[in-house]
Amino acid sequence: MTNSSRLPGSHPSGIKGPPKCEKCGATLRLESGICVSCLLCEGIEAGVSSAAFESVMAEVDVPDTHWHLGNYEILDEIGRGGMGVIYRARQRHSQRIVAVKRVLSYQADSHETIARFRREADTVASLDHPNILPIYEVSESEAGNPLFSMKCATGGSLHHASSSLRNDPRKCVELMAKVARAVEYAHSRGILHRDLKPGNILLDESGEPFVSDFGLAKWLNANTDLTKSLTSFGTAGYIAPEQAQGAAAHLTSAADVYSLGAILFELLTDRPPFVGDNPLSVIRQASETPAPKLRSLAHSLDRDLETICAHCLERDPKARYQSAGALATDLERWLDRKPIIARPVSPPARVWRWSRRNPKLVATGVAGLLVGAAAIWLFRSELLRTPAFNPPEKSIAVLPFLDLSQAKDQEYFCDGISEEILDALSKVDGLRVTGRRSSFSFKGTGMAASEVGKRLNVQNVLEGSLRRDGNHIRVTAELSDTRNGFHLWSQTYERELAGVFAVQDEITRSIVDALKLKLAGGLPAQTQHNTEIYDLYLQGLYFSNKSNEEDLRRALDFFQRAVAQDPTFARAWTGIAKVWYFLADVYVRPLDAYPASREAALKAIALDRKDAEAHCYLSEATRVLDWDLAGADAELKRAMELDPNSAPAHLFAGLHPLFRGELKDGLQLILEAEKLDPVSPITSYVTTAAYLANNRYDDAINEGQRTLQLDPNYFYLDSILAAAYREKGNFPEAIALYTKAQEATRLPSSGLAITYARMGRENDAKNILSQLSQARETRYVSAPLIAAVSIALGDKEGAFHELERAYAEHSGVLQWVAFLPEFRALHSDARFPQLLQRINASQETILKITDTTLSETTDPKAQSHFTLKVGIRQRPGTPDGHAVKIIVSFYDLSKDNKLMPTNAQVGYRWLTSVSEWKYGAPRFLEATYVRPKIPMPSPEGRRYGGFIVRAYFDGRLQDSRANPSELSTLFPAEN
């Protein structure tokens, strides 16, 4: 109906101008077609007052309903902002209440506006995060305005909710931690928000935050003409100084971090960091003066919060948290009452403040009794964090006993007693005991036992105290139930020092009784018999967590002696598998080590089918010896079925996405592994690598330091912490660490060579390279390490040569080249993807099954009626016209619980269409399984058994889901 006016620079497509107005002859019209001149001329005549106007208007009853825009019935206007108007609307077909944003063009050239708008829609729609406002649909109104619908956040914005949150700092921090994680996610997708403010954080009914209005989002890397010139956007009060000054091309995630800090500041103090009469003065202040201290405005808040805010609001972007994730981590640590990473005055290096205790036992005389000289180190510590408090049956944590002696010099003794008791308890079959480091970390916190128990997820807590006067000691011990705080048992012992060992036995036995465990033959005899072998095992376990060859071989020795005495000791076989696994690729040729690991793992499984950890090592052997990622996956699945809390299973499982290039997913899984076993150095080591792969240098550095806290000599293959320093550009730290690593591993450090190469010290780098080559003559040197040095020296040919060698040797490290930064220079070379193909580190799938929800319907006509809803997502950017096929098959269970196929199978086929799936939203399908009611029940007694969903793209299997999982193995896909 109307034509947009075109200004110079763009030409209309042959459309003539609007007709002249009949009344006045002017040609200028509004969107609705009214002549502007006529409208203007109206003003010559008199009008009417607002009171009169309103009273006349009130005479009629014309309710505001049924205003439609596109597929939506507009209910009310929620607000205006950014590029358009936001309404609350009802979607025509689904009747769902949504928010609809309508773009209002601001300039005559609507093509650019629409293009910019589509960019916004694409951007936000590709983000998929629980705390980012999801976009449902992009469409156009009849008038041609683009509009999109999104979730309607009914809780209003943070702008309005802030006053009610002020009195609850914890809630503020919780909320902002979620927001920061959401922003981190967007950053990881290359998207900056650039206009974070309370008005852009919407809340739903339950107070859950959603970040919205990525209207100013800008791809970090893209640099189109349109976006390049957009300079000072953002809202005064929350905009980072460098952003206000127009540095649009160089903005980093630190700008968003500033905004997050400003928002948090306001939530806690009722005003933004800077206030002023007008936006200009606010921004000037923000650029020229340091942000006010949080506590100067809100005295009751603690220093850590002040530090966090200050760290966000630093004027120098490099001085802030370098990622929204780092901010989120600190907020989460604050919530957990852990020390935060940020320091009030920024130091050159960050120190892990968590726990600095020396793990060695110091208790005199006590140590020698029950176990060998080695400290006890349980491989699996039970630090599960379950949402509902549901501790495993028969689980206990032993807290360090309190030193009540006068001189308070008995700490070592108290700790010793506690540790001994802990150790003795851990030998008891059927009892889960929290690892020493975890339970001892609560020492001195003054936390109530039941609270500690909840955090450690144990059913019972043992605490006690000790008082020593010369040779006389008094020990009290108390056992309580975490769930209700009841004291199950308590006792006091008065003994002479010489009798302290008997006291330990007595306490242990009492506890066991109190926990109602029955041990055949009583405690002493049983443990006496097994103690020696178990002792060997425990020592093996201790050394198996080390990273140097000598200790690993010691571990191997201990384990082998254990199985020599008791060949049925399954766990010791697993230990052997573990040590060979860790020796492989680093100290021992893969083709020697992996088969040995596999053999031991198979022995362990033969003795104990339920050994999850053995399956983990089996999985790795499959991956490396057979180059079979899929097979390895299956083994890990089995491991997780057997033990959902298996840390090694999660750790290895996290590596697979990394091999395939799914860096974020991999990191996610590895972080879960870390939750399951926070005190494992190898997990921390791999976590460091995962952060590094994701370019999260600060996180990598923090994690790498944590590894060294756990074990100061943990360098293993090559110090990843040093690599993080190096990637960040901090060469001195990198060199220092690599030098240390060289001493520990007694091998020239390839990372050091790479650092030298980066610094331009080519000769030094070449020196190390030749040393490495020489070392090959006497010992195994991992080929990818040498390849990495070659790359740093610019020798791609040499690098590929080494990688070929690695392939021939079956180096398990080879698949790591898929994500380690040292190998990025090879990505563009055609040989690289070919290599990845051969080692089966394949690319991201095109189709993904997002979810499968099974629901049962009550159907009077059917014996059973199930509906399966399947979500399929297509990778954004997939071109048109490819064949998608989804096959859903249902299975039955026979009378004797055998899974059997049925003819309830359905296929969906369609061709990919860019417009339909552009925004990456999943498509949902349904399949039904109906077993009709029949007069006579079938002789086979069949009933519903399960389903398999398989997604094919151009005939290639992309993804599958099966429930129960064994269906996939029983009924494999035909090709």
């Binding site: 101008g17 106007f53 902002g81 390049k228 007008n278």
Partner: protein
Amino acid sequence: MNTQVCEEDAGAPRQFATTRWSLILSASHSEDGEQKAREALNLLCRTYWRPVFSFVRRRGYSMEDAQDLTQDFFVKILEPGWLRHADPDRGRFRSLLSKSLQNFLINAAERAHTRKHGGDVKFVCWDDWMAEAPSQLSMSAQAVDSLPPERLFDLRWAATVVEHSLRRLREECESKGKRRLFHALSSYLTAERDEVSFARLSAELGIAESAVIRQLFNLRQRYRSLLRDEVAQTVADPAEVDDEIRYLCTALAAGAE
């Protein structure tokens, strides 16, 4: 500070509350007054930035440069120095703005060099301004290409006045829950009686035809008040309102080539 809409009939002796422009002109000396004046100026700029932008574009600058320059211009306007130079004799906001803009662009070339060095802090709520006042005009392409920038400025100015008044009218209707009424009737504000199908409107709105006629007339009258008030905000003396309206009408008529 709030705008006062003329509460009496336009025919009665005008007892205008202070218009924005007169406030700006008169109050640049006291500190308190200066603050209020700046707020008033801010409001005016937010309404009338589009003519400025059109002018700059018409002068041949690219989209990006035009945005930059418009922003720069307003930053300059909003600085205290400019207010002090606002000479009462220069009369109307529109003309003063136009002249300032022309002067500003003369020096624009030199300024372009210094601008990029990040010395000054820039800040303009571009998107907010745009969202507040969406505008879609239709003009013939030849007209746009052939009109001199000053003419285009006036055209745009006139359109802004009209659009802004309509927006206020809509808001007043919406605040009373009569948005639908507004949408149904606003297209007919200038229509002659026989151009309107009252029967259809009556059916659409569910009210009697006579009610439609009455409501339309009401809306029209209110619109007039708002329009006059809008114009009044940009002149120093209430007596100039009619003159200014006529000036703008002339500008539009002249644009009709």
